[in-house]
Symmetry: C2
Subunit: 235 residues, 2 copies
């Protein structure tokens, strides 16, 4: 059975890395001794090794060790044999480019569809959707494709941000950007605020966390859904 946590962010303001996700991680990774970490998004240009150390720190309390996917000679086999997978945030273009180059995007999809527990944060959540086309990141590299795993049948906008009241900045709001996406695409988009995550169990996708999420469907006015709502019908 598919078991997935797709979180808007790894870290809440003023909290430790992954702190608010610990209860969800305990459930998702029950019985798991080692998680394979996908470090390719490299936030701030951090090295794969250093990023893996940071991830390991976040799993220590659960008694789970973390090994970076970049350390394996055969990453396809590493994913096949993984007890659990975690993809950290950073730059989504870099993450997607690297996964496609190494032929790993479909492998992630395949093993997670077969039941390997998966957690993503931010960029790692973006790749859970059908495409990365609702990322907030800068196109610092050119990926061979914008397609991602489609583990959920819609797109996600992590770090979803409401318009800032009184702002005099003329750049587009997040909502305007997602509406522009819908002038070119019909894929629904879940705007996931920091502190929210999607919990996938088999065919059920549930919004978790304290906040509502903002749903964008092509041709409809955006609307809010409460925590606890199921979202699999969006696909």
């Amino acid at each position: 059975m598919k078991q997935i946590v797709l979180a808007s962010t790894s870290t809440l303001f003023g909290e430790e890395y992954l702190a608010y996700l610990k209860p969800a991680m305990k459930t998702l990774f029950t019985g798991v001794k080692e998680v394979i970490f996908i470090p390719y998004a490299r936030p701030g240009g951090i090295s794969h090794d250093d990023y893996t150390l940071r991830a390991a720190d976040g799993f220590k309390e659960l008694g789970i060790t973390v090994r970076g996917l970049h350390t394996f000679d055969n990453p396809v086999a590493a994913l096949e044999n993984a007890e659990g997978i975690f993809t950290g945030g950073g730059n989504t273009f870099l993450l997607v480019k690297t996964l496609h180059e190494k032929g790993l995007m479909q492998q992630v999809r395949s093993v997670v569809e077969k039941g390997t527990p998966y957690m993503g944060c931010s960029a790692g959540t973006n790749i859970g959707g059908l495409t990365m086309q609702t990322t907030n990141d800068m196109p610092i590299v050119y990926p061979s494709s914008f397609e991602t795993t489609g583990l959920v049948p819609f797109n996600i906008n992590p770090h979803y941000l409401d318009p800032i009241e009184g702002s005099q900045h003329m750049g587009e709001t997040r909502e305007t950007r997602i509406k522009e996406f819908h002038t070119q695409n019909i894929t629904p988009v879940v705007g996931l605020r920091e502190g929210s995550w999607l919990h996938v169990e088999g065919n059920t996708i549930t919004l978790r966390g304290k906040l509502t999420a903002r749903i964008f469907e092509a041709g409809k006015a955006p609307y809010e859904v409460e925590s606890g709502s199921t979202l699999e019908h969006l696909g």
Copy 2:
């Protein structure tokens, strides 16, 4: 001689479309009777026709008519024969994809290098740089390449935004994003705040407007330059 205005934004908060740029436009388009408008960035999904009408409104006061590039059977020839060119803002991915598909990116470069006056705002400014890889826009479509005109020998980040003091949002600041760009690229980046523009005359590139601009060079701490500074050495 190259004559270019690359503006951060078309519109300042509380002002009319293009209002603050009118003096610069008068100089740039001296003697010009008709400007060819490139509407492909389609802000908010507006039609090419409607966007061209908006642009025409911005040029009315100067006694200059505006014709949309999309109305020509032969847009390559239309650019060749243009007295002046204006590219409006919107989604940079859509603009760049369309220009590459139609084989127009190199044509814009070619005629502007030969002296056709060019003005860009926002996305239309992004394509003045070497690549579109420092855009703020969402990748709503997949362009065949991120390369742009290279009319200036660096990249531009329009709508440059300083970190918001006291923000508890954990998404990356603009500065963090540009620094991530420099983990993968060495192209210098000019962070152009709203109200600023670059004025290119031949080989001289001058920062105009009331504000400073923030310069990002790979391996250096970012720094501010005053209005009136020349920037051609960055290339």
